[in-house]
Amino acid sequence: MSEKFDNLVEVSHLKEYFSINVGMFTTKPLKAVDDVSFSIKQGETLGLVGESGCGKTTVGRTLLHLYKPTSGEIRFRGKPVKTTAEINEFRKKATMVFQDPYSSLNPRMTVSDIIGEPLDIHKMFNNRSEREERILELMNRVGLNSEHASRYAHEFSGGQRQRIGIARALALQPEFIVCDEPVSALDVSIQAQVINMFDELQEQMGLTYLFIAHDILVVRHISDRIAVMYLGKMVELADAKEIYEHPLHPYTKSLMSAVPQPDPKVARANKRIVLSGDIPSPLNAPSGCPFRTRCPHAASACAESMPEFHEVESGHFAACHRISELN
């Protein structure tokens, strides 16, 4: 990708293999993320979509070194993140908001302990009252009342819990936040509140997001660019409007056409490309292109080699052997 932009985060050839026991003494690599490269510009929101098991969550977690990458390089502000010291420094600037607001908050900690924990770990404050002040400021920022500080997570609704999780992520004044399905557990009316909050925080604090979600309409709404993953591989990456309206990869095409449109006339006129079959197990991924077993356009070349992830049009990347014939 071009160097002239100020890329905050750069990921190149990231691989994350988990080893799975298949017999008593034999293991097999599960290629959760297989050779993924992308970069995120400062202040940008990159949406990452794909179906369950495609590796989108693993990308987010490996990016923050919650999993040790099998290989590949992560650079933040142009500097590699590899040694323990680099990782610790990086984690002050890069945090995460988790999917499940029920299990991601410790039930035995009060809200102020939860939000204050990152401050304690990174020893941000020596002075108790300054620490308290910071916690209240954070709570205020995400729309929680200061009197909630001494309560426990179970006393809050799903939307409020997600606000607590966001306050915790903001505690260290990060520049980059990995949002892993942050709104998918929330009801529509609450979801809209939280999406707007992500928007506002980005404007106020100049944040950069990697926004992982399976709901394409949500990702389309919030993202500047969108990347699509399938079975551990990135298959397409482009500007949000572009990829939504003119997808190039056959998988993205079917994914976009399958989005249930909340409009009866559009939904009924919509020509859905319904794929046959299910996603193969990542333990037995097909040879060549991972999508070929469900692809309506698969040819013999698709079984032989993995298509290269390349720039098809300016700023529009895709990995498909037959991309020029099909479009």
């Binding site: 999406i195 707007n196 928007d199 389309r220 709404h221 919030i222 949000a240 056409s257 249930p260």
Partner: protein, 342 residues
């Protein structure tokens, strides 16, 4: 006569903390061969409505009053014996989570055959053939082989197909689908919705589709009921509900969903948090979150009123518009209409 008539149904759960009125006086009719969508957020009572119709409520739950008539036959208070002939035969249900609704210790075939022999006079051999036929119908390849496999050998989409096959094996008049695609991926969801639509056209049953996803409703449903805090706020054809919403909650819901057109703009969420069913307000349940709430909304809930032949809503705002149009001073609107002069 409608196939299913639900009239003033009240279902409550009696918990140590008090009575939770999960369904609070709802009425609707379902005609043969129609697809009815029930939408609402968690806790709105949409699933409890379905469980009340099937009478499969948890032990703390009880139908307090109201009537549910299937083909004119009253089901409330009819007893387990009658209900056993209704469940599976006349009304079937598929649940949200295909991962937990099948028994992991029996093969798919065993479970299908059990369901079929229980509800029909078929013997085991005939039931087996019927099961294979049903699996074929829902688009499962190599049904004979699949019958001998266990649920863990099937993916989520496959299991939901098996559940649909089981639900339809006795040719019910009504299929209740309780969030059938919520646990599935988008492309698999498209497959299952397409399948349900095909089967509905082929077999002609009526479907009650319970979902929180307005996209699913738009795609599949002829008629839509919008629920909030156990009550129906609005009911009408899909077109009316989507293009001409007449309840403030429905309007808010429509504004808060992200679409392709909202990118780069702010969504307009409904403020506040969902209602606590243990502490229901006196008036309209949505009033505490409603931007246009008037005095009367806080005191008295609105009856369902006809907007047109295909559309009903329970919102005082419609009364206000009407009065405004008749150029009566709007400040008196609430008091005159509500007959509340305290």
């Amino acid at each position: 006569m409608a196939l299913l008539e639900v009239n003033d149904l009240h279902t409550s759960f009696f918990t140590p903390a008090g009575e939770v009125r999960a369904v609070n006086g709802i009425s609707f009719n379902l005609d043969r061969g129609k697809v009815l969508g029930i939408v609402g957020e968690s806790g709105s009572g949409k699933s409890v409505t379905a469980y009340s119709i099937m009478q499969i409520l948890a032990s703390t739950g009880k139908i307090v009053s109201g009537s549910i008539k299937l083909n004119g036959q009253e089901l409330v208070g009819s007893g387990e014996k009658i209900m056993k002939t209704v469940r599976g035969n006349k009304i079937s249900i598929i649940f949200q989570d295909p991962m937990t609704s099948l028994n992991p210790t029996y093969t798919i075939g065993h479970q299908l055959v059990e369901a079929i022999t229980l509800h029909t006079s078929r013997n085991k051999k005939q039931a087996w053939d019927r099961a294979v036929e049903m699996l074929e119908l829902v688009g499962i390849n190599e049904p004979e082989k699949r019958m001998r496999q266990y649920p863990f050998e099937h993916s989520g989409g496959m299991r939901q197909r098996v559940m649909i096959a089981m639900a339809l094996a006795c040719e019910p008049d009504i299929l209740i689908a309780d969030e059938p695609t919520t646990a599935l991926d988008v492309t698999i969801q498209a497959q299952i919705l397409e399948l349900m639509k095909d089967l509905q056209e082929k077999l002609g049953m009526a479907i009650i589709m319970i979902t929180h996803d307005l996209g699913v409703v738009a795609q599949l449903c002829d008629e839509v009921i919008v629920m909030y805090a156990g009550s129906i706020c609005e009911q009408g054809t899909a077109e009316e509900i989507f293009y001409n919403p007449k309840h403030e909650y429905t309007k808010g819901l429509m504004r808060s969903i992200p679409t392709a057109d909202t990118a780069g703009t702010k969504l307009q969420p409904i403020s506040g948090t969902p209602i606590d069913l243990l502490n229901m307000p006196a008036g309209c349940p949505f009033a505490p979150r409603c931007d246009n709430a008037m005095r009367i909304c806080l005191r008295q809930s609105c009856e369902r009123m006809e907007i047109n032949a295909e559309h009903q809503a329970a919102c005082w705002m419609n009364v206000k518009y009407k009065i405004d149009q008749e150029s009566v001073h709007p400040e008196n609107a609430g008091d005159t209409e509500g007959g509340d002069a305290q």
